[in-house]
């Protein structure tokens, strides 16, 4: 098992006037080649901050991040950029309002010189269709898309890079379940087909259950539990993890039973 990416005692502190915010606090974890590592945790627990640091958007206050064993420099090379991709949490602002969807999607192809020039326009269409949008949306502007549609564009753009590691910050939270299923499927297939590695940030534990290999649970900037998915859902160690699972809204009776069982355990231990 080789670590594709490893965080070593990474912290991030924001200063904001009088306040100091310790967004990420001494986090160490490895992302293994080919896995899907889910990051779950309460809102504001530093998940996006971790993602941003992995992408080099801002440097960690302390600690190092290594990719394939080498520490990532503050200024990323083009190769690093291609190797690590991000789907941002806020889909509206991540698309340039003045550029067409097609132009935004074509950018990674042009930047990394992917595929023959002439075929790129067609490739954009394929990318859109992969995330369940009609190819002619390439001519639209972000403003005329619904929230979910924008999110899918953002996913398509990250996938276009054909990178090794994709950081997905709540990629499906704005999607309806049908599209979500399709996107998840696509993500899964791509991972298998291309050997991609995902860092998958989400609140949706049902999704986690079905896509992730391992799960990292964050609480207030700290990593409180990191275990294989099976363990998390059958025998969660940390109380916060159990609380999380216990709060999942579910649709079937089976699920309710599972949830109740975990909650019982929790009550027993408490």
């Amino acid at each position: 098992m080789t670590a594709l990416l490893s965080l070593d005692r990474v912290s991030k502190t924001f200063t904001q006037g009088r306040h100091e915010v310790r967004a990420v606090d001494d986090v160490s974890l490895d992302v293994i080649q080919g896995e899907c590592l889910a990051i779950v945790g309460e809102s504001g627990s530093g998940k996006s901050t971790v993602a941003n640091m992995i992408l080099g958007i801002y440097p960690p206050t302390a600690g190092t991040i290594a990719f394939r064993g080498e520490a990532l420099p503050a200024a990323r090379t083009l190769a690093h950029r291609r190797a690590i991709q991000l789907v941002q949490q806020n889909p509206l602002s991540s698309l340039n309002p003045k550029r067409s969807i097609g132009a935004s999607l074509r950018l990674p192809l042009d930047v990394h010189d992917l595929g023959p020039r002439a075929a790129r326009a067609a490739r954009v269409g394929v990318l859109l269709e992969e995330v369940g949008l009609p190819a002619d949306y390439a001519r639209r502007t972000p403003e005329s898309l619904s929230g979910g549609q924008r999110q899918r564009v953002a996913i398509a753009r990250a996938l276009a890079c054909q990178s090794d590691l994709v950081v997905l910050d709540e990629p499906t939270s704005a999607l309806d379940v049908l599209v979500q299923a399709r996107v998840l499927k696509l993500l899964n297939d791509l991972r298998k087909g291309r050997g991609l590695t995902y860092v998958f940030i989400t609140h949706d534990l049902s999704v986690v259950r079905n896509i992730a290999d391992r799960v990292a649970v964050f609480e207030r900037g700290r990593l409180v539990e990191l275990n294989p998915t099976e363990t998390i859902f059958s025998d969660p160690h940390h109380p916060y993890t159990r609380r999380l699972i216990g709060a999942v809204p579910v649709v079937t009776a089976d699920e309710v039973r599972l949830r109740d069982r975990l909650m019982e355990n929790d009550n027993e231990r408490a």
């Binding site: 904001q16 704005a174 309806d176 599209v179 299923a181 949706d204 089976d254």
Partner: protein, 296 residues
Amino acid sequence: MTAPTLAIRDLTLGFRGWAGQVDVLHGISLHIMKGERVALVGESGSGKSVTARIVLGLLQQLKTARIGGLVAFEGQDLSTLSARQRHALRGTRMSMIFQDPTSSLNPVYRIGSQFHEVLKRAEPGISAADARRKAQAALADVAIPDPARALDSYSFQLSGGMNQRVMIAMALANEPSLLIADEPGTALDVTVQAQTLSLMRALVEKHHTSVLFISHNLGVVREFADRVYVIYKGRIVEHGRSADLFADPRHPYTRALLSAVPRITGGGIPEIDDVSESYFAPMVVHEGCGEPGEVG
């Protein structure tokens, strides 16, 4: 019988552009009784948010929008109200939680001052100190850990979920009679989500607030809503009480939706068929759920 808080009848919507008109809503009808929680679920882009924006009267001012049909709030046809009257309803009698919390907060004002502005709608003379106190309490209710800091922050300094909770707190602050919640939980972790949902539920019960709950998280819908409308490409395809609908989905599209939900019991990502013609099958209405004043 009192009039429903919100009644929508045969609502149509199209956008006019240089390439002609694009129809988005094809005549949808729905209603929400006082104190009722009604969910609107459906695929992304099916017209949920635009419906909400029409109810608030926001789309009416868009020149390219062509709107038809009836929207009545507490028995009053909105189109017969003057702009001023409609305006007076917003933020006091009805309020909305927006889908995209981070861009829906003004980036150049601190959360605190935006909150103050919201509170002034209900209580125009409220002092800054009072507003701050109220806002802190409201933020604490939605489980924001350090409300004082949040109030002193700008939206880009808070996490997505925090922004969303700010939005929720704002929407609830003035105790509206109609609350439109456009995907209020998407950016929240499940514990907080559960907490905000129960807060909303408590509020709804206390003030008999009606809620239009827009979501594609069927789990949340099942736990929160009394009734559910399923919308597909600008048409309502199924309508029933939550329990009934989840237990017995009848429309092909609803069935597809339900089967696509990933389960925490595992089982992998559900297989789904491609878009099927049957999704356009006629609307299914569960027993006792007809639109008021309609036969059926």
